[in-house]
Symmetry: C2
Subunit: 461 residues, 2 copies
């Protein structure tokens, strides 16, 4: 029996525990075995989800917040100390947790950078306890926000210049996921969101007017519209499909006022948008917007835009806020290098489908003379940039202290748009896009060969 | 440029804005038009996601927290007051928001109740601004947690009595989604989770030991195992597949100690679990557990259990924490009744695929003499229970004050297990299950016919 319903909010007091238990048991094992060597981990994806030909990286800001503010509070440490799992662990470990600060170096692609498989989005170097313990929290933000920003970019491609607005809070995976989805969707190219908190916390444009229940709660559609218009004379997008879409448009026009637009939420959006446009134009409301919504995805939007549907704004909910066709991104965070006896020792896995490249890495993006992206080159972190190649990872934390400049979400959104303008069309078709080339540098391949020889050649314990 | 990275935490100070903008614009329109009538909304699903034959309702506790603590703080109201969308709205509306308290009556199925399409999971009656404004937050919790609890129940069915543990935090839709997934998975039947915060906040059992990176950071697998075992002599589940699974098992056995078990995270789990079991048994470790993990879902688990794979615990990540095959539940929250001139007026939609039943409703579950569920009957809220029928919705809030008893997650989990024991097998097969019957009462059908006649028969404005 519980009398106080729980909010299940994450906050700075408890976020250290927003992780997998094994991060903490490994920390204890490293601690008691005096494993203090610096270790480098990289976050990357092995392959793209189906129908994706690029990813828009997102979530770096929340990761940086976490690294800067990660603390193990008294109550949190007491919980761990008393938990049966930790009963054989030495008391010094809990004192260590109370003093814990992340003091590592972090290199990351600036948020919004287009990214391809095998390229590190973030690279973390710190004493191994520190670089390991942050894995789960880091991945949950990067995987989710990158999924959504990438999905948003696809939807915006399909919309061919019309606005796409994120409407999916009610289907998102809880209230925080709704907020994160709104943020990532905006970064990926959406014009805004229905999520008010995203407006409050981040200054993202917010949109929305009325629901069917509002229309139904008045004796007539006309009355519902009029009463709404009187309160929002400049911002009324009237939902016209509660009973019959075209009659709804007509009832809005019967008010003889300049409402902002109409929203069509069901039915044949192509036909209905055309006939609605005619009705609006004939009444002289050429600037009135037509918003289309209702279970939209990039395929439907593409079909509508291909047929020239006069829809100005697409509202996308479920498909966007959950990235429904690819609801989980398999981003991983892997040990790639350790310092042993002041030597950097590359580390890699060699199982058939899960092989990784050892060594701390940098990704370079090579552009042609018009600024179009030609290829990426994955290299060791200390290699020189290839001709025409720009390094993608920048240092954003040094010894636990944030460094460098970071843009806000508006700058990040412009950065995404700029890059999409430079990524040749063949790599950003909605379906059957070509694979953008990511080459490995000769040195990186050499490290891989050496690691593989060591691994195959010697008894492993 | 921003210097302070944002956490994007939801808290009591900002949660009033964790909603769609139209909830607030509709509130303003209702307020200025003096729409103070009480309105009843019901949350339900129209149809089940593919492969689901029942849902385990979850999220009620977080909804109740929200209703109890929903306030519009000063900064939040200032934000709205200054937002261009609200520029024509009267100042009194913002004063109203500052004083806002949810004062409605809420009836809900106790958390964990098995639910079928059209049945209200929650029913909210309050002045229309209050009953409308809570929609988005309510749906985001109910839709997500119900998805996950239902997915967990399926995974546990497939596991046929073996334990299923939720491992998916890194692929969940952000840190709060990870926590909510851990909670809902436990409610749905999982033995526990890797998410430590779920243990801290809710007392859910937490599990986990080591990762591949841990094994790789030592010079040999044997050394990695021994050093971990020394710190956790009673809780070492050793990950044996970093290099070669069966060699890994042998290296664990070479320690000549009683470790708790092994985890197999890749490869042919059926063959590897059998051979691992033989090795463990021959060494006398008959109690050592075998944990299987790695991209599991109910289909793979069912195949493994069908073939008698000696796996004691299944760790399920991505598929469970995102309900990957059905990542969005289409739960909706619809106006079903309004008080007008002290009369209850039922409300419904009649569009072809979105028709709803008007009137405030109760669902009754009819059991046979052995306690097995036979059918449900959806009726008006004030109808008498049919013979053998138990009402499913209970009052949990009266005038904004929580009433009734609520169990904690452990009681809720037992309640789910009890109900699954009473739901005949035909309705809970993993694939091609029969459709559990939900009948509508004659009175409910009568209301529907009347509403439809009114709607078809009269000009609508």
């Amino acid at each position: 029996m519980t009398d106080t319903p729980r909010s299940l909010f994450i906050d700075e007091e408890n976020m250290a525990l927003a992780t997998d238990l094994y991060q903490l048991t490994m920390a204890a094992a490293y601690f008691q075995n005096s494993c203090t060597q610096r270790a480098t981990f990289e976050m990357f994806v092995r392959k793209l989800p189906e129908h994706r030909s690029f990813l828009v990286s997102a979530g770096q800001e929340q990761v940086l917040h976490h690294l800067q503010h990660l603390r193990f509070s008294g109550p949190v440490v007491d919980f761990l100390r008393r938990h049966p799992v930790f009963k054989s662990v030495s008391p010094e470990f809990f004192d260590f947790l109370l003093e814990f600060r992340f003091q590592g170096d972090v290199w990351a692609m600036p948020e919004g950078t287009l990214v391809f498989p095998t390229e590190p989005i973030l690279r973390v170097t710190a004493p191994i306890i520190q670089s390991q313990i942050i894995e789960t929290y880091l991945l949950s933000h990067m995987n989710f926000q990158t999924s959504i920003a990438s999905k948003a970019a696809r939807l915006c491609l399909a919309a061919e210049g019309r606005a796409v607005v994120e409407f999916g809070s009610r289907r998102a995976h809880g209230p925080q996921a709704a907020l994160l989805a709104a943020r990532a969707a905006y970064v990926g190219g959406c014009a805004g969101t229905s999520n008010v908190l995203a407006g409050y916390l981040l200054g993202i444009p917010i949109y929305g007017t009325i629901a069917h229940s509002y229309v139904m709660s008045f004796d007539s559609e006309t009355e519902a519209f009029r009463r709404y218009f009187n309160v929002f004379p400049e911002n009324s997008i009237l939902l016209v499909d509660t009973y019959d879409t075209l009659e709804g448009v007509q009832k809005a026009l019967d008010m003889k006022v300049n409402f902002r637009g109409v929203r069509l939420d069901s039915g044949d959006l192509l036909g209905l948008s055309r006939r609605s446009r005619q009705l609006l134009d004939r009444a002289g409301l050429r600037d009135a917007l037509i918003v289309g919504s209702g279970d939209l995805n990039e395929e439907i939007i593409f079909e509508l835009t291909s047929h020239g549907a006069p829809i100005d704004v697409f509202g996308v909910g479920t498909e966007l806020a959950t990235s429904k066709d690819a609801p989980a991104l398999g981003g991983i965070y892997k040990l790639v290098e350790e310092q042993k006896d002041s030597q950097a020792v590359p580390k890699a896995k060699f199982s058939s489908d899960k092989a990784t490249y050892g060594g701390a890495k940098q990704a370079f993006r090579v552009s042609d003379e018009r600024g179009k992206f030609v290829r990426d080159i994955l290299a060791l972190a200390d290699e020189q940039a290839p001709r025409g190649g720009q390094p993608l990872l920048e240092q954003c934390m040094e010894g636990g202290v944030p460094v460098g400049n970071r843009g806000d979400v508006h700058a990040t959104r412009r950065y995404v748009a700029d890059q999409l303008g430079r990524l040749p069309g063949a790599y950003q078709r909605l379906y059957n896009a070509e694979t953008y080339p990511v080459q490995k540098s000769p040195k990186l391949e050499e490290v891989r060969r050496e690691l593989e020889e060591q691994y195959r050649g010697q008894p492993r314990s």
